[in-house]
């Protein structure tokens, strides 16, 4: 397959949209199951097309820009955000052959792009010129910066252990022993992924009951859909990275590699949804204390431990 076909269809843009719709559907269905409801049911078989219908509803909505808003920034931000997270997907090997690019700096680029997200979301809040959006923007910067340090440290632990930043190579070298040694790093990575992508219980920047919808408050229609899509894709990309780094990527018996990859990602998503259904949101100061006093020191210790292990192995 040629690279540009890959970039458009699989695992590129079209694939991203389908994944977004399916994950959204899965989230609603699983949440409904925990709530003892039915969830989406009428549109399509088992309500499979419900999320598609929702997105198309958003697309046909009016394009509203607040009078005070910084118009250029306000209309540009969703696309910048989407571009940044869509680039993440290019570096993820879904199976042995389905990846768009493979360089020797895969992990570095992914982490750098994730680190670039807070300013984008902050500008989204700032450009709206609304109080709730502004507070949401401040909160998102606060939260993502404190979450990214443990994210980097735990991801680098895996890179140090395998001695490479290339995703494909990491997957090929992974083993069960490696999984056990990297287990603490995996837990830290998943926790900080939840913090960085502000998923519940860390959804402080868009706490509905406090600041309406955070930096997303003023967005509507297509802009809103793109922003939400980019947040979901960011989570998907980080979970894919977690699968690649810690869970052995597409490796697995009997079934084809791509299926194994998605089974592993789905497991992580299931965990996310159940946490969302049962854990109340925590407060900003609690989160900061947790990030800087617990998560970061533990991640540092973990990195030291990995370096020690590496010394003895090699």
């Amino acid at each position: 397959m040629e690279a540009w076909i890959k970039a458009i269809f699989f695992p590129g843009f079209v694939f991203l949209l389908v994944v977004f719709l399916m994950i959204f559907y899965l989230e609603r269905k699983i949440l409904a199951d925990v709530h003892l409801r039915t969830g989406p049911y009428y549109v399509g078989k088992w309500g499979l097309l419900q999320t598609t219908a929702d997105v198309f509803k958003l697309l046909q909505k009016e394009f509203i820009i607040q009078r005070r808003a910084n118009k250029i920034l306000f209309s540009l931000i969703p696309f910048v955000a989407f571009l940044m997270v869509a680039m993440l997907i290019a570096f993820i090997p879904f199976s042995e052959h389905s990846y768009i690019v493979s360089t020797s700096f895969d992990l570095l680029v992914v982490l750098a792009l994730v680190t670039g997200m807070p300013p984008v979301f902050f500008y989204a809040g700032w450009a709206s010129k609304s109080k709730y959006s502004f507070i949401g923007g401040l909160r998102v910067v606060n939260q993502m910066i404190s979450g990214e340090i443990p994210l980097w440290l735990s991801a680098l632990a895996a890179a140090v252990f395998y001695g490479t930043l290339n995703h494909l190579q990491i997957v090929q070298e992974s083993s069960f022993l490696g999984f056990l040694i990297l287990l603490p790093a995996f837990l830290i990575f998943v926790t900080s992924t939840l913090i960085v992508t502000d998923r519940p219980p860390f959804d402080i920047p868009e706490a509905e009951q406090e600041i309406v919808y955070g930096f997303l408050t003023e967005f509507g229609g297509f802009n809103y859909a793109i922003l939400v899509l980019s947040k979901l894709v960011e989570l998907f990309a980080l979970y894919s990275v977690a699968v690649v780094l810690f869970l052995g990527g597409f490796k697995g018996p009997i079934l084809p590699g791509i299926l194994w990859f998605f089974i592993k990602v789905a497991g992580l998503y299931l965990f996310t949804f159940v946490v969302r259904a049962s854990t109340p949101r925590i407060r900003m100061d609690h989160l900061l204390r947790f990030c800087w006093k617990v998560l970061t020191p533990v991640a540092l210790l973990n990195l030291a431990f990995i370096i020690l292990v590496k010394m003895f192995i090699s």
């Binding site: 949440l31 925990v34 709530h35 003892l36 409801r37 005070r68 010129k129 109080k131 709730y132 502004f134 507070i135 519940p200 219980p201 959804d203 402080i204 706490a207 509905e208 009951q209 406090e210 600041i211 309406v212 969302r276 259904a277 049962s278 854990t279 109340p280 949101r281 925590i282 407060r283 900003m284 100061d285 609690h286």
Partner: protein
């Protein structure tokens, strides 16, 4: 148009390019930021809190009410003694039996009517059913403000069973208009009792174990609500708090025990109190009262006597006045009813517990974090219909 600059081919859009100062927005330059927590807000309901924040700290809170004012007290004056229940029950539709019972007892006091024993028991069953329905929503919405919607969904499933029972009894699920001066309006049939038992069974066997496992000893919930909005015992009495909020501060005030009405004097139940006085204690009080109420319903159904369920209530009531307190789901609800000898009430004053709690709220919200505002608001367990009336 007509401007020399625009005629020369230049376009200046003066309005659009003007930089808006921070003072206009209440942003950036101003140190304090006024947030409108309501009226159009996901968690506020039909009321508005003006919240002044300094960064993440709340400086001052000012409630602004009146968005659901229906003049219920005035409307009662245009009704007959019995018709007035439809206005009284709308103080808060979630638990409508408590308010109807209070009004009916006040009217019976003035008229000197003695209610049959069976009516008293049916009133007790209905009141406790209403309390359970209200507490279920209270539990759900308390955790709902923390971003988890599971408890509300579970609570609504349990609530449906009780609404089924009310529907069998009165034909209506929510605004039942079923308790009138002189007794209760309908005969408590076997089917109603059966439905009520089913509902209580569901509550005790399915809802309470399932909910208690996940959302009662929840560590995150404790982290968020412990030590938030603390009110000491003395302060609670000074502020005039009512209902679960008062009992969570260690004051064992319960009209059902202190001044028994309906059949509460003959039933055995416990007044739930907590010492901590914080949001979590208020939540636990609601939770334990739910369990107590289920027990009360079981006792009342067992002890349900035979006989009439309604006596004749006179069309014209002699002049006089009465003040009656009932323990409604959200606290002590007071009715001051005045008769001038006519076919309807001359004046009715309702003392609403939610209103009392609302004006105590700004005290509790001093120097808390912005994220605590919804928690304290929900923990005080207020009903907007009840605040405005």
């Amino acid at each position: 148009m007509g401007n020399s600059i625009s005629m020369a081919g230049y376009t200046f859009v003066v309005e659009e390019k003007k930089e808006i100062s921070g003072e206009d927005l209440g942003l950036l330059q101003e140190k304090l930021l006024q947030l409108n927590w309501g009226v159009q807000h996901p968690a506020s309901g039909p009321m508005r809190l003006k919240v002044w924040v300094d960064g993440d700290e709340v400086v001052k809170v000012d409630p602004d009410i009146g968005y659901v004012l229906r003049l219920l007290e005035k409307l009662v004056e245009y009704r007959t003694w019995i018709n007035a229940i439809v206005n009284v029950e709308r103080a808060c539709f979630i638990d409508n039996f408590g308010t109807m019972t209070g009004y009916s007892i006040a009217a019976e006091k003035i008229a000197g009517v003695k209610v049959p024993k069976k009516a008293d028991y049916v009133r007790t069953i209905l009141c406790e059913g209403g309390r359970i329905v209200s507490h279920l929503i209270g539990l759900g919405s308390f955790i709902g403000v923390l971003g988890v919607h599971t408890p509300m969904q579970w609570a609504l499933i349990a609530r449906e069973k009780f609404l089924d029972a009310f529907e069998v009894y009165s034909g209506q699920r929510i605004a039942t208009a079923s308790i009138i001066p002189g007794g209760v309006r309908y005969e408590p049939t076997g089917k109603f009792i059966e439905k009520m038992v089913t509902a209580v069974d569901f509550l005790e066997k399915e809802f309470i174990p399932r909910y208690g496992e996940v959302f009662i000893d929840n560590p995150t919930l404790k982290l968020r609500s412990r030590g938030i909005g603390v009110v000491s015992r003395e302060k609670a009495i000074d502020l005039g708090l009512a209902g679960p909020a008062l009992r969570a501060s260690g004051v064992a005030s319960d009209m059902r025990k202190d001044y028994p009405y309906a059949a509460y004097g003959e039933l055995d139940f416990r007044v739930v109190t907590k010492e901590e006085g914080d949001a979590y204690a208020r939540y636990l009080v609601i939770w334990e009262e739910l369990i107590e109420s289920a027990k009360i319903i079981r006792q009342a159904i067992e002890g349900l006597p035979e006989g009439e369920w309604r006596t004749k209530f006179p069309v014209k009531v002699p002049p006089g006045e009465a003040y009656v307190n009932v323990e409604w789901a959200r606290g002590c609800f007071g009715f001051h009813l005045v008769s001038d000898g006519g076919t309807g009430p001359y004046r009715l004053k309702m003392r609403a517990p939610s209103f009392a709690n609302l004006w105590a709220m700004p005290e509790m919200m001093k120097n808390v974090k912005l994220a605590d505002v919804p928690v304290i608001f929900a923990s005080l367990y207020m009903c907007h219909g009840d605040i405005d009336r």
